[in-house]
Subunit: 463 residues, 2 copies
């Protein structure tokens, strides 16, 4: 049914019969939702290509362009891609277009808008899941294990340093009370693996030793971020730290990552055998994705992140003979889904908190300047904790950990909802996230270029 069913009955309803019966109404909604999703995808791809092409021409990473393209079509500028939770929800230009071209009735706007936005959100979440699966496929488990100790140090220092510097600075310089200071400090901890991994892939540095340390540290960082959130949250709620929860989290993360990789290596020959027996189209791709989605689901339900499961699945399958085939087939699927993620991140970024002519923004901007400094310094120095190989580009490792992205925003959102954060501190965290997210891609390219002169290989990857 689906397609034709919705479209035909949608048409039928709007142009021929006014009988209001429930199922037909639902079908009519379905037509508008599909139309809205199609338009949103057109906007997303347009923004991602426009931004990506401009950035690649001025020698910046294309993913930065996708973020900026997202800002252009999002809440901060053209309102083509806005989400219900934002303040500009009622200004959605896509809904206006649907109203004027497809005859979407005004009273149906809220529900069509809500469902269409939820679909785009889920597509963007699938985008980052597929991105991490692809990153896992391109990673090397043995190399990751080898650089594991270094990655662990980078991750730990990169969590402790910004947290301590941020919290103490806010308390002693800005006289912020302890609880919001701890919250803001915690928001400085977790690296956004998506942005860093994408830039590394674009630079052809994913499989370099630096790249693998960054990826390993970012994965551990993700887990540490969840632990820090648990610690801070229980502090805010009960005034004390719920040790049980934290132990549970650390153990479940360790068991999941180590367990899925060990178990995965055991069953991956079975998976390859099964795929070799299959005769229908898409057997390699779909089997790989089913594996990734199952691990993502498990990671989600044990309160970790879905992307960790997808990354583990990619790591496991990268060790099989199907790696090359899978890598090739995942590319168009990633090309379809991943831009949705980055454009949505940009579209949800509200630049209005950066406007200094609004007096209430100023306090936030001053705190933000401090947080940005701490956020960058606190991660850059982590690179210099790396021991062993003296030829390593230590600056690049630290710079690779800079982008905070989504996790920082979770702290801001949850902190302000629980009343722990003042408006100025919340705005400052958002500005810090924006700055680190947008500054990391060009910086990363810069530090890799300066030392390595890998211009040719970069250009090759850009093709």
């Amino acid at each position: 049914m689906s397609d034709n069913f919705y479209i035909l009955t949608g048409w039928w309803n709007s142009s021929l019969i006014a009988t209001a019966n429930e199922s037909a109404n639902e079908s009519e909604q379905g037509t508008f939702i599909l139309a809205g999703v199609l338009l949103s995808l057109v906007v997303i791809y347009f923004a991602s290509k426009l931004g990506g092409e401009v950035c690649s021409r001025i020698n910046l990473p294309p993913v930065l362009g996708e973020l900026v393209g997202g800002v252009l079509v999002g809440i901060s500028a053209f309102h083509l891609l806005v989400f219900p939770e934002s303040s500009a929800a009622e200004k959605s230009l896509i809904m206006s277009i649907l109203q004027s071209t497809a005859g979407l009735p005004t009273e149906a706007v809220p529900s069509v808008f809500a469902t269409q936005s939820e679909i785009i959100s889920v597509l963007s979440e699938l985008g980052v899941i597929i991105l991490l699966f692809e990153i896992g496929l391109e990673s090397d488990l043995k190399e990751l294990i080898r650089v594991g100790p270094m990655a662990a140090i980078v991750a730990t220092v990169g969590v402790v340093m910004p947290f301590v510097m941020g919290t103490l600075g806010l308390i002693y310089i800005f006289h912020t009370p302890a609880i919001p200071a701890v919250f803001a400090g915690a928001a400085l901890t977790a690296t956004s693996i998506g942005i860093t991994a994408k830039v590394l892939a674009e630079l052809g540095q994913l499989s370099s030793e630096e790249g693998q340390i960054i990826i390993g540290a970012a994965v551990l960082d993700d887990i540490l971020g969840i632990v820090v959130l648990a610690v801070v949250a229980s502090l805010v709620k009960t005034g004390e730290i719920q040790v049980n929860n934290i132990i549970y989290l650390v153990i479940s993360a360790a068991v999941f990552l180590i367990g899925s990789i060990l178990l995965g290596r055991l069953i991956s020959p079975l998976i390859v055998g099964l795929v070799n027996e299959m005769k229908t189209r898409g057997q390699v791709l779909l089997t790989g994705l089913v594996f990734a989605f199952i691990l993502s689901y498990i990671a989600t339900v044990i309160n970790l992140e879905g992307i960790l499961g997808a990354f583990a699945a990619g790591l496991i399958l990268a060790e099989t003979e199907k790696r090359k085939e899978l890598e090739q087939q995942i590319i168009p699927v990633a090309d379809f889904f991943v831009p949705i993620f980055f454009v949505c991140v940009g579209a949800k970024t509200d630049l209005s908190v950066l406007n200094p002519t609004v007096p209430s923004n100023r306090e936030g901007l001053i705190i933000a300047t401090f947080l940005i400094l701490v956020a960058i310094l606190g991660k850059v120095i982590t690179g210099f904790t790396v021991f062993g190989n003296p030829d390593l580009n230590k600056l690049a490792i630290g710079v690779g950990m800079i982008p905070r992205g989504e996790v920082g925003l979770v702290f801001a959102g949850v902190g302000s909802a629980s009343g722990a954060l003042s408006e100025a501190t919340e705005a400052a965290i958002i500005v810090m996230v924006i700055a680190t997210t947008f500054v990391a891609p060009p910086l990363l390219r810069l530090v890799f270029k300066e030392t390595d002169t890998i211009a040719e290989s970069v250009d090759k990857v850009q093709e």
Copy 2:
């Protein structure tokens, strides 16, 4: 934001803080929705591969297996994939799994279920849009124009014959009143292009003369089906035929198809030039998809079907130098989306109307037997109206037009909602749709094999 944002706040809420604040609740919902979508995709791919592999082994078309796999996981059997509009909505096994593994609270089930189902429905609609784009890419516009007159005759005869035979038979044999008889007759008219095109592709017959006649006729059939629906609907509503509406529909369909192809051929060199200038990943694929989505959107808003736009986009781009590259890149994307469509069609098929031990089903089954005969005969004879080339496999052309699929179900649903159809007649139409959908793929393979002995090329396509 998206991924981490939802997952982290979802986790935060469920395990640490019970503060009920709106945005956090929405985020928690987001986690469950994403988890539900991941599980649904795992179920869909499992069903499609299980069914497809079994069918390819017993020499039946894989797409039939995807449909049967869908039936197995859908409303008729395991209730893994059920939709809100069905009677078994509250029995969704995916929701039960989410409740027991992810801690989905009972009160959140209805809204999570509704959104998750809507997302799967839209993914399945994207599936048939991408399928028709792929079919368009593999079609040959010049060949289609050449076989156009033959396709037009096949389409027209294939609409008139079943309509007249069905309506008169119901009136004179079953003494059905005129209006429901006309409705049931109309339900016999429109071919389901998706199933036929997929089987043709699987048989390697898409670009044969027979294949192109079938595709051309099925596209025209789709348009005729919309017109017939308009005619019958106005008949039921007002007792007379609203000529204006019908003229509007016919003209808009003609203008859209001819206009988009003419205009598309004019601008396709610009598109190719633009793509050649682009340097970032996925430029060919995304530009092609943007073009397809725009035409789909236009087709949807002028009350045609989205798939017509996607087909036109494929036809236009097939004439450019990017055809090969686009064909290759669309394969993994189609492998991702298309099975969602076929499994959903199967999952929505309610086989309980076929149970003869339920007395109320029996009248419907008798009428259904008659409708199935008319549905098959009325299309099979169309092949023999084809003139010209005497070597054409005329039987195959007729058989290719047999599956009714979704459009027939629209007639059943709308007819029963408007009160024009009795329960028995509605059930009979549903049984007819099931039978033609499931019988066409093996029949089509049979008639192509008998005359052409193309076993080798079939096996090659199966790889």
